[in-house]
């Protein structure tokens, strides 16, 4: 044995990655269902995805408030009773509201699916949005917001998104305390009626599925006036900021600066998207990236620095994000631009590129572990109106993209003048 010599490895290019197929069926009302029956643990996760994100709201916070309050009372049960229905069976019902979609999800032991699915049905058909529940929601959301507004990272993320899309766009708008004050129960009820009761829905169910899962889903949701998810979003115009550079003082006692550097970018449908994902990994997408190696592991300016492309359906942005020591924020920004320059001017050597390829393939392989993760992949494809072809092409791109292509993409997209630059202390 020679410890100086690395054991032989099997390279990424040799792995044959398969996305486990997904069973598909539609309920009586046409709502599509994606199902994956796998895993050793006796657990099930069901996610109902609605087109009910803040893309659809006419007034700020209607979408997240409606989504949150789905669990806070129907005409027959109080919020406490609804929670008790899940808690008693050790099940979890979570709600989440995103830019385009809003989700109601159920995680439960497989044996308790029959008791818990009907509670979800009750929530999405009979929620009442009482004044008292809304008042508590407003008060507690406002308080949480006040705490968050004292954090430089929270403020920086809001501001950079407003720069990119304009503060009227669903991806760029943000909440001020007074926006919460003016929420009214009537608007929530209307939103509920349009986007849940008569909304567009798609269901993802995974885990150790009961044999009669289709019948159970039909019984719970198949007779509702839901419509199938159609992947059509009305365009909302963006108003990106004209000014590119910002320095904001949020907390006079702050000891770190939250840095955000960002440019508009495209979604998965753009021909450069997959190759840019590889370029992004090399740039700032993993622990061994150029940004991490330089700014954390060489200079020690930060605990972590990352770059990523936002996971939006309609439009996207490429963002570099870090919290760095107050006195090294400008030096950090300079290093970020230096790394962009290196990518534009020098070809990545084969060894580093192979490392990125292998890392990415290994990550995908690890991420295909277990029914919930596999369904996560399918969900992402379905919500972006893509098929598994996209998955296989991505794998192919990771294996074959060349150093020249990556350099050319850096020349095209990694130019400092295209980026917004923001520091919040």
């Amino acid at each position: 044995m020679n410890r100086l010599v690395a054991p032989r490895i099997k390279d990424a290019i040799e792995f044959d990655l398969q996305l486990k197929p997904c069973q598909r069926f539609t309920l009586h009302n046409g709502v599509p269902v994606y199902a994956i029956d796998a895993g050793a643990q006796e657990v099930v996760q069901a996610e109902l995805v609605f087109y009910a994100g803040n893309w659809f709201e006419q007034q700020k916070n209607i979408a997240p408030a409606t989504n949150y309050l789905l669990k806070n009372g129907t005409s027959k049960k109080t919020a406490f009773q609804l929670s008790e229905e899940f808690d008693y069976y050790g099940a979890y019902c979570n709600r989440a509201c995103y830019s385009e979609t809003a989700v109601v999800s159920l995680s439960t032991l497989a044996k308790h699916v029959p008791e818990t699915l009907p509670v979800i049905r009750e929530m999405i058909t009979d929620s009442v949005f009482s004044e008292s529940e809304l008042d508590i929601f407003k008060q507690n959301s406002k308080q949480r917001l006040q705490v968050n507004l004292q954090k430089s990272d929270f403020v920086a993320t809001r501001l950079i998104e407003a720069c990119l899309y304009g503060d009227q766009h669903p991806y760029g708008k943000y909440t001020n305390p007074e926006d919460l004050d003016v929420l009214e129960s009537g608007s929530l009820k209307n939103f509920f009626k349009q986007y849940y009761l008569n909304g567009q829905c798609v269901i993802f169910v995974s885990g150790k599925l009961p044999v009669n899962i289709e019948a159970q889903l039909n019984m719970a949701f198949g007779d509702l006036s839901l419509k199938p998810f159609n992947n059509q979003l009305a365009t909302i115009s963006q108003q990106p900021a004209a000014e590119k550079k910002y320095r904001v003082q949020n907390d006079v006692h702050g000891v770190q600066g939250s840095i955000r550097i960002a440019r508009p970018f495209y979604t998965r449908r753009h021909p450069d998207f997959m190759k840019v994902m590889v370029l992004n990994t090399l740039f700032g997408g993993f622990f061994g990236s150029r940004l991490m190696s330089n700014i954390r592991e060489d200079k020690g300016y930060t605990y972590g620095i990352h770059s990523y492309v936002q996971n939006h359906i309609h439009d996207s942005a490429w963002i570099i994000s870090t919290e760095a020591g107050k006195d090294v924020t400008e030096a950090t920004i300079e290093e970020v631009y230096k790394e962009m320059k290196r990518l534009r001017e020098d070809l990545v050597d084969e060894e580093e590129l192979l490392l990125v390829r292998n890392f990415l393939i290994g990550t995908i392989l690890g991420d295909l572990d277990g029914p919930f993760h596999i369904m996560g992949r399918w969900k992402n494809l379905a919500l972006n109106n893509l098929t598994d072809d996209f998955f296989y092409k991505s794998i192919e791109t990771i294996k074959t993209v060349s150093a020249e292509e990556l350099r050319d993409l850096a020349k095209k997209y990694l130019n400092p003048e295209d980026f917004y630059e923001l520091v919040v202390i």
Partner: protein
Amino acid sequence: MIQFEKFEIANGLKVLVHQDVSTPMAVVNVLYDVGARDEDPAKTGFAHLFEHLMFGGSIHVPVYDEPLQLAGGENNAFTTNDLTNYYCQLPSENLETAFWLESDRMLSLAFSKKSLEVQRKVVSEEFKEHYINKPYGDVWHKIRALTYTVHPYKWMTIGAELSHIKNATLDDVKAFFKKHYNPSNAILVVAGNVTVEEVKRLTEKWFAPIPAGEKYIRNLPAEPKQTAARSNSVRANVPLDALYKCWHIYPRTDPRYYTADLITEILSGGGSSRLFQSLVKEKQLFSNIECYHLGSTDPGLLVIEGKLVKGMKMEDAEAAINEELVKLQNEGISQRELEKVKNKTESMIAFEDMEITNRAASLAMYELMGDADLINKELERYRAVTAEEIQTESKIIFDERNSNTLYYYSNN
């Protein structure tokens, strides 16, 4: 049921193998029996700083991450007050790469000056990001100092102060390695698409040549029983008043640990729990309230914390918490409520076990507690807790003399 096999090699390294052929991956998890509680009070934060240095190159491998990433793997680590855990996940075909990397850094580090310099800065930024630059960031610093008088749980994993990290020397690093990073002080868990034979062969090849070193015998001062209530008041630039109440509970291996754990579920596990319903929904004294315990190896803390609704008085908020505790002490709980928190626990365990990395880390932690097979007995132990035990323990734990209260007032 989580199946595993266990063996030990001559230098004292314990090895557990958990086979799961449904995944193409392998997980290699190395737990070192050292945490912040083993630190010198004048050099706190060291176990965690050391965790960072474990990625700064070992004696034969200049950079830990690169060969692992090249093999399609990823890794991470964490340090607690009790232990330090490292894990990597990679395609099972490349399992040997993980053995090479993990055994080399158990053998010896490179002890690079540059790595120490950089990681001191990185950890300082981590300290600032999480404990200084956030509202309420110093709460745990204050709680630990209030609740523990002699036991080393009195400081946080990140360290009692920034200067301890800034002053760490290379000699400190070497001494710490020699004292704690020995095979006899470690547990190796290999999980995923692997066989016992292969793991045995690779362990013999890579780990057996590492000298046993000197076994570290832990001898920590026990925290004396608290006999009078303690409290502390602070003012800070935060938007809202907050209240933190803590009580000493049992060590992890004590049978009463399970009772204490279920008590936290009764008080704040979900939308139908007692504190949430009474204090957030009905009385609207708090905008959020949580009850949990630290899950530490030595006697830990049960905590209730919440932020007050603007305009509410601290005394009223505290009285309302006490009222709920007295209710639990006097009236106990119904069979249905007990069944509910047990069902939640069953479900939590099932969901946690979904991830192979979790299973590997859990096996290592149970082995550290004395027997990895405890992982398969947990549910039984929770199921055995009775309503009477809940009531009895709530009287013992929530005794006023056992309480520690931090009043955190807003300057605004």
